[in-house]
């Protein structure tokens, strides 16, 4: 079928989308252009059928189109692009506030340094032994209790090397003779306690306290 430069106005004319001057101009045109008139009649019939029987014709096209429209487009259409931009900026500011300020409002675990290491959590006060130059090898290590359901780990070091460690639910440990026999008079030792929650999370650490003893008796 031949083409006419006016035929792209046919749809606009049929849907009454042409402004008055163009509409009159196109009407005058199709009175003298059999090509445009034929195509217009054809389109008009097609549109009339589609309008009359659209539900029947497009029942299988509805679904994807409706899905496409169902959630995204109404959401996007809810605000203008400018409003969406403002909303995005506001959301970003709220996020900055949430990330930057709110965490600082919470009660934070204390932080302190032990042997130059930053430790987060509570500190445990060691009760004994906390003095140097003991007469003999200490048989009991005791510290402040942090309440029930706390597990403790006692570490005994010889200089910087771990000599022995043990786990307990009490706030003290009685050393067995075997452990005592691992330590010798005149040498420098240190001990430390760490506390854990029932889930195994470190909740408190003591400082490392040095001790030595003069006699093996």
């Amino acid at each position: 079928m031949k083409k006419c430069k006016f035929e792209n106005l046919i749809d606009e004319y049929l849907f009454d989308r042409l402004e008055e001057t163009r509409k009159k101009s196109f009407e005058e045109h199709y009175f003298g252009c059999p090509l445009c008139f034929e195509k217009m009649e054809e389109k008009n019939e097609l549109i009339a059928v589609i309008k009359a029987k659209g539900d029947e014709i497009f029942h299988d096209v509805y679904a994807p189109s409706k899905i496409r429209q169902s959630w995204l487009e109404p959401v996007l259409a809810f605000l203008t692009p400018r409003q969406w931009a403002m909303a995005a900026v506001s959301a970003a500011l709220i996020l900055v506030v949430a990330i930057g300020i709110i965490p600082n409002l919470k009660t934070r675990s204390p932080e302190f340094f032990i042997n130059d290491d930053l430790v987060r959590g509570s500190s445990i006060n060691l009760i004994s032994p906390v003095i140097d130059n003991l007469g003999q090898v200490p048989s009991e290590f005791r510290w402040q209790s942090l309440g029930e359901n706390t597990e403790y780990k006692l570490f005994i070091f010889h200089q910087e090397v771990l000599l022995w460690s043990t786990d307990t639910n009490e706030n003290y440990v009685i050393l067995s003779e075997d452990v005592k026999s691992m330590m010798a008079p005149g040498k420098k030792y240190s001990w430390q306690v760490k506390a854990f929650s029932p889930e195994g999370t470190l909740i408190a650490v003591s400082s490392r306290v040095q001790f030595n003893f003069t006699s093996s008796e």
Binding site: F31, G32, E45, K51, I57, F58
Partner: protein
């Protein structure tokens, strides 16, 4: 000048223009067309068409004047008349139900990409740009698909 040939050629064009302007539901549309064609024949016989413009423009002018007269008269009458039926344009009116079903069945057989574009463009009456945005294709591609769908249907519609 073959007046009969002119009448045969322009009656459908005048009919289309009249139906589009005053609504296909208006029972008077055929009377208006007849009046226009009688007027055209009279003027041609009297030699009022001097060839300054094309015959098409000559008939278009007569048709437009008659439509304006009709609407003016109708408006005066309607001031004291009950509320008229909603306007129904020719594109909303199917004249031959059997043929319409035949065309509808042919559209159903088109590939989904052509049906989809006809659905959005003609059924939902979205603009070319809106259809393009929805289908994520260019407006030019929308026109191509509409035209190709019509090309496929043309064969059926001409039968």
């Amino acid at each position: 000048m073959d007046i009969d040939a002119i009448v045969a050629k322009y009656r459908p064009v005048v009919s289309f223009r009249v139906k589009k302007s005053i609504g296909v539901q208006t029972p008077d549309w055929e009377d208006v067309v007849n009046e226009v064609m009688i007027n055209v024949v009279e003027k041609l016989k009297k030699g009022e068409f001097r060839g300054d413009s094309s015959v098409g423009t000559f008939i278009y002018t007569i048709t437009s004047r008659r439509i304006i007269d009709f609407i003016r008269k109708k408006s005066k009458v309607l001031k004291h008349a009950p509320e008229p039926d909603p306007y129904l344009s020719p594109r909303e009116h199917v004249e031959n139900l059997e043929r319409a079903q035949w065309i509808a069945d042919s559209i159903k057989k088109l590939k989904p990409k052509y049906k989809e574009v006809l659905f959005l463009y003609y059924y939902q009456e979205l603009s070319r740009e809106e259809v393009a945005k929805k289908l994520r294709i260019s407006p030019r591609r929308v026109s191509e698909r509409v035209n190709y769908a019509q090309k496929l249907l043309r064969k059926v519609m001409k039968e």
